[in-house]
Amino acid sequence: MSEQAVTFSPMPYRRTWQAVKFLTPLLLLVVLWQLIVTLFNVNPRIFPDVPTVVRAGWGTIADGSLISHVGASLWRVSVGTFIGIVTAVPLGIAMGVSRGVSDFLSPLLRFFSVLAGIAWIPIATLWFGYGFGAITFVIFNAVFFIVAYNTLLGVSTIPMPLRHAAASLGVSRWQMLTHVLLPGALPNIVTGIRTGMGFAWRGLIAAEMIATNVGLGYMLFLARDFYRTEVIVFAMIVIGIIWLVLDRLLLAPLERSTIERWGMVQRS
């Protein structure tokens, strides 16, 4: 056997293997689903079979409703997350600079990050009415407190010698912020964004069931009103897939690249 025959580039192989490992259980679940529905002759109102769901899915794609629901949901998540990040990061850094302030505010941030998300829906609808404002506010809440807390954590765990080194090399206060505190906290910030968006996505679906007339959550809720179980199941699958794609193809690599490249340990 020649040497060339057994050598292969390990990276693409590993990626494919990872993908196979990830997708196999999901595909098995689909097979199991179809088997059970067929074997037990399940009422389609209770749970439809795979082809029915695929047809329903195709219908929502063909009439353009899926794209408008997905678009509305993604837009809200993007806006809410963006506002959450740009407000939470400066606040987290400002708090992290002072040990006293950070000790004082940590419990508050932790409290609100547990509360963040769907618990805000009722009051959000009172403040903003039904629609974009209330839902974006819920997303913002889910992201804001977790990112602020993680930023604070990131800044306060930057080793003291790094700050001392920067001070001895002559940084100004502003340079300390931009060249030491912000990059030093970045791995935690990214972790915060990833966790926060996870909560935001769940909160979004819940908020859309209550507070709007477009979006994936609304799609679910509407389908229930018309007893269209196949659309409900399809929408649930879409919700899960979008999150997995977002998380695994965007957020996880982002997190990994900041942490691994700099050889920093994830600290939260």
């Binding site: 010698p161 790094l162 080194a165 001895s168 090399l169 002559g170 940084v171 050889g263």
Partner: protein, 252 residues
Amino acid sequence: MKSLALENLSKTYFDPYRGTQFTAVKDVSLNVEEGDFVAVVGPSGCGKSTILNMIAGFVPITSGRILVGGREVKGPGPDRGVVFQSFALFPWKTVSENVTFGPKMRGVGKAERAKIAEEYLALAGLSHAADRYPNELSGGMQQRVGVVRALANNPDVLLMDEPFASVDAQTRMTLQEELTRIWEERRPTIVFITHDVSEAVFLANKVVVLSKGNVLEQVDIPLSRPRSWDRLVEDDDFKALSNQVLQLVRSA
């Protein structure tokens, strides 16, 4: 480079566990001439790190003064470069970005910084590692970067806080020899903190022995330069001086 003077320097901490005052440094006066190489040794708890932290401006002084080139210092500043035991390199910056960090903060342009990086990486024998990140380097290489990062910022005084304590013994000897070579070439004013007596004697022109926050004795080290371990390890003067300092430290 400039001279460094400590005048009646004291540091008192409040010990929250005992509820009492603890004096870490008591009335220390010390002169370091411009271009001199002074090592400070003493058992742990003798106040040597506290003194360095006060000179660097990381901890406030309780009483006394610190003068660099005749000017009193307050707080950290680029006139006093520091080399840390933990290296303290910025993990998100490459080796050359670390080395030129100080100049960049001062507003030195890109072309000039490239020259500085080239010069100091060559000095540290790290030209090949310019674009690597600190975590890709061994401890010894990281501390070489730490040393030239401080030097590249042109400090008046170089403060070194047990800089070679966290590398392995062989690497440590190499780094010590390289530091003496750099000192002979450029004559920076160095204050070197260590608990390792032979390291202090090998490197410095003068060894200051501390005891309980006080200067116990100053020992001149008239060994010829360049110094290398191959030569000094068998050298009777080196052995005698090391022994003398060791006795002082043990009595401290």
